[in-house]
């Protein structure tokens, strides 16, 4: 039986701020109890990741984003057949939609933690801004994962901390 909470960070560690998602996982691995949390990482979301959502109580996707207005953003995810499936990097909402197609049921409650990113050069480390944003996002993720309760997470959703 899979662990009830799935933490899924994606991005390329060798591409500057694109590493934000996987780096947050490293923080969680070293600072949080993993008794009830499974950690997965990949370069990008793909269709088979829908199967990783099976039998979860809560799912948290973590990604770098150039669209964040602040240091990070925390949102509720709904299944959506957006157009990302025409690329080889799906959006988390499209992954949820695939879950519905395969399983013929609603996916578990899923959330997205987006961390503001700016530079994606090969071989570069995190930019200074991204390091600052990661620090805040890690702290926030730590609070979420120490209280894996749907109502608590819903209350946190769409709240944005200033950088």
């Amino acid at each position: 039986m899979p662990k009830p909470v799935l933490l899924f960070g994606y991005g390329n560690l060798s591409r500057g701020d694109d590493a934000l998602g996987p780096l947050l996982l490293e923080y969680v691995e070293s600072h949080c109890s993993l008794d009830a949390i499974e950690i997965l990482s990949d370069f990008q979301l793909q269709i088979e990741h829908a199967l990783d959502l099976e039998n979860r109580r809560l799912v948290l996707f973590v990604d770098a984003s150039v669209a964040c207005a602040e240091a990070f953003d925390f949102t509720v995810l709904e299944p959506a057949r957006d157009k990302s499936y025409t690329t080889h990097a799906m959006s988390p909402a499209a992954v949820l939609d695939v879950y519905q197609s395969i399983k013929k049921q609603l996916p578990p409650p899923c959330f997205l933690l987006s961390i503001k990113a700016g530079k994606f050069e090969l071989g570069e480390g995190l930019s200074a801004n991204a390091e600052h944003n990661l620090e805040q996002a890690c702290s926030f993720a730590g609070r979420l994962l120490s209280n894996p309760d749907l109502d608590f997470w819903l209350k946190q959703a769409n709240t944005v901390l200033s950088a």
């Binding site: 390329n12 694109d18 990008q44 025409t86 071989g123």
Partner: protein, 499 residues
Amino acid sequence: MYEHLETAENRDSLKRVVVDPVSRVEGHGKVTLLLDENNKVQQARLHIVEFRGFERFIQGRPYWELPVLVQRLCGICPVSHHLAAAKAIDQLVGIDPDNLPVSADKLRRLLHFGQVLQSHALHFFHLSSPDLLFGFESDISKRSIVAVLAEYPDIGVQGVKLRKYGQEVIRMVSGKRIHGTGAIAGGMNKSLTKAERDYLLEDIDQMITWAEGSVALIKKVHCSNLPYYDDFATIRSNYLGLTKPDGALELYHGGIRAKNEHGETLMDHIDYCKYNDYIHEEVRSWTYMKFPYLLSLGQAQGWYRVGPLARVNNCDYIDTPLAEAARVEFKAHSGEAMVHSTLAFHWTRLIEVLHCAESIKVLLNDPDIMGSDLVAQGEKRYEGIGVIEAPRGTLFHHYQVDENDIVTKANLIVSTTSNNMAMNESVRQVAAEYLSGRELTEPLLNNLEVAIRAYDPCLSCATHAVGKMPLQLELVDAGGKLIDKLVKHSDGQIERNNA
């Protein structure tokens, strides 16, 4: 051949059409067409914005980091780079392939079969099956795995689960689905536990059944319109790949074999450490990607194809029974010694999926994969070369180190580079035979992408930050005026701007 369409004479007077980037491939490339006033194609090129900086990136790093570092090249076939680098650094610690511990050799092979299976499944079911099931010029909304899941749910779900299974094999052997650290210099850092072995055994018979079904599906699709499938994007070429000493299909380690278009052997059982004596690379000004060729035949005649079509064409047999039966049937469908149909890449890719599934079962039932003798050590060397059959074809990793074990030189020939000339030829064939003289539309231009996609090219390291595939198609008249523009944004939204 269609080389006359590589460079037009009166380029300034021609209309220019750009498909940028090519979608549903790994990475970034674009196609340009130059048309005359009657929409006749005068020039067709596939340009690669191929990432070539990695060789510099890894210079100055200690050699033992290589198997992990090179995985960052690609999110789709990191295991292939991992293993090619591992084979190279085996030599740096004085270990040749024949001296690798038996358990380590079998674990690496298991890892590689999982990798090829998941990569092929991704390509066929996710990227190519929409074209094959709905038609090359179908509505763009149908050209996706999501549409396949909606209209062919059994096929779609099988594709998803086959890929997932391959990744589970990778995860069990190397610790992670991607960026695992299984292979190290001289061996492996862990073997399988009995629980891990039993977990993988649970589903393997189902995977073999589904893989058989996928071969039957592609055979049905291909043969349902045989003249078209045997002609579309088809070119006659040489073929190159590894084989076992007895000529059997080989994915992990073997000698280099090359055959010409008639099936005559050009070279056989060549030690890949001497690849520089047989293969050179040519540079052309209009693309970042090089053009490898067989030195013995020269630049004009020596280009070759790699990948599943090359491997199945080149080998004498496959050493797993179901895949061998599928190979025999595949070869029989053509009246020639070699099958040249570019769309037959799909058929052979699925034969290899079946071979991988069968081979995984054999290895899972072999107690050596749970062995404890995993690492060997020999005398230090200063140069190492690792070659492997990656999903897309023969992959070369070549390193030199100094006395402090720091990498001083690296050369990689990735599979897609070997198929560069062939992809350009297929693009020209489609442009000349299927597009020339017609009014170009987005569905029609998808034919070009179908031709490229058959090769399953991996055009750059895949990262979601740069992999969002915006597509822009511009029609410019002979006077240079923009007359039509179609844009697919990075979120997939389509927008048309008539000038």
